[in-house]
């Protein structure tokens, strides 16, 4: 990287404690992914029937619609139960999948057993620069508004769908 006036994009880090044992936490996160994933976020036109993380390196991460259609989100890079998974996220800001490592950001999830029987789960999503080429998709997709306004519209729609805690 040349030195220039570009601010780096900070990773997203979410750190939670779940009051279940580590193996249960890992299973719930991975095998039951579709049961807790916010329903409004999907690639295909329909609400997905399920979202699958194939449980091995190179496994696909995808949603399946009721009619059987599958849409890729990314892939599994590392699978180390019950402590860690590393996923490649291939979706840009418009939820369009683009293949290839150079177009993917990284989602790492680490599970740590706590002395009281609970589990700490830390998710880190980094490497957003990989999606830099997608901003044109945002802009051109809705015509004159511009990528920024399009993304904000997507954001606003998401915020409105957010369930109350």
């Amino acid at each position: 990287m040349t030195s220039q006036a570009t601010r780096p994009i900070a990773p997203v880090v979410v750190d939670v404690t779940v009051r279940v044992p580590i193996a249960v936490a890992f299973h719930a996160f991975t095998a039951d992914f579709h049961r807790w994933w916010p329903a409004s976020h999907h690639v295909g036109a329909q609400d997905p029937e399920t979202v699958v993380l194939e449980p091995f390196p190179g496994g696909r991460w995808f949603e399946r619609a009721p009619d059987g259609a599958e849409c890729l989100w990314g892939e599994v890079v590392a699978w180390e139960p019950p402590h860690r998974i590393l996923l490649a996220w291939g979706l840009d800001g418009t939820w369009t999948y683009r293949a290839g490592q150079e177009n993917a950001s990284q989602v790492e999830v680490r599970f740590t057993a706590l002395p009281d029987g609970a589990t700490r789960v830390v998710l880190e999503h980094s490497g957003f620069e990989a999606h830099g080429a997608t901003a044109t998709t945002l802009r051109d997709g809705v015509g004159s508004e511009g990528g920024w306004a399009s993304l904000l519209a997507l954001y606003a729609r998401f915020a409105a769908d957010e369930p109350s805690p």
């Binding site: 916010p38 957003f128 805690p165």
Partner: protein
């Protein structure tokens, strides 16, 4: 769903800038389009706040504008905050019935560590 790019050349220009900062000449050397065409695409990309530029001697160097990416990052932040809260609620509801309720900010570290009594993979399919 939103369409893919309307202009593949503009996307190619943005891809080159994304790989590393470049001047107009460097970009034009990689594409089958003229320098004025590249400049025009860069102007549009700059107006959309997707690229930024700075002077390096007599040249201008174009690089990715982090604002578009920062917005995407903030969106991912809210998405994962919501998703992880949903994950905790799901996992505790399905598997943590032995542990008392708590508010999201409260860890209740003094509670006796009753191990989860049921390890069955989950409720109704």
């Amino acid at each position: 769903m939103l369409d893919a790019l309307a202009d593949p050349t503009r996307r190619a220009v943005l891809d080159l800038v994304r790989q590393r900062p470049r001047s107009v000449s460097e970009i034009a050397a990689e594409l089958p389009v003229s320098r004025p065409a590249v400049s025009q695409h860069l102007r549009a990309l700059k107006q959309a706040r997707l690229v930024q530029d700075h002077a390096a001697g007599t040249r201008r160097i174009y690089s990715l504008d982090p604002h578009g990416l920062a917005a995407l990052r903030d969106y991912a932040d809210q998405l994962w905050q919501t998703a992880m809260a949903s994950f905790v609620e799901y996992a505790e509801r399905e598997h943590g019935a032995s542990l008392p309720d708590r508010s999201p900010a409260d860890r209740s570290p003094g509670q006796p560590p009753t191990q989860s009594p049921h390890e069955n993979p989950g409720g109704a399919p």
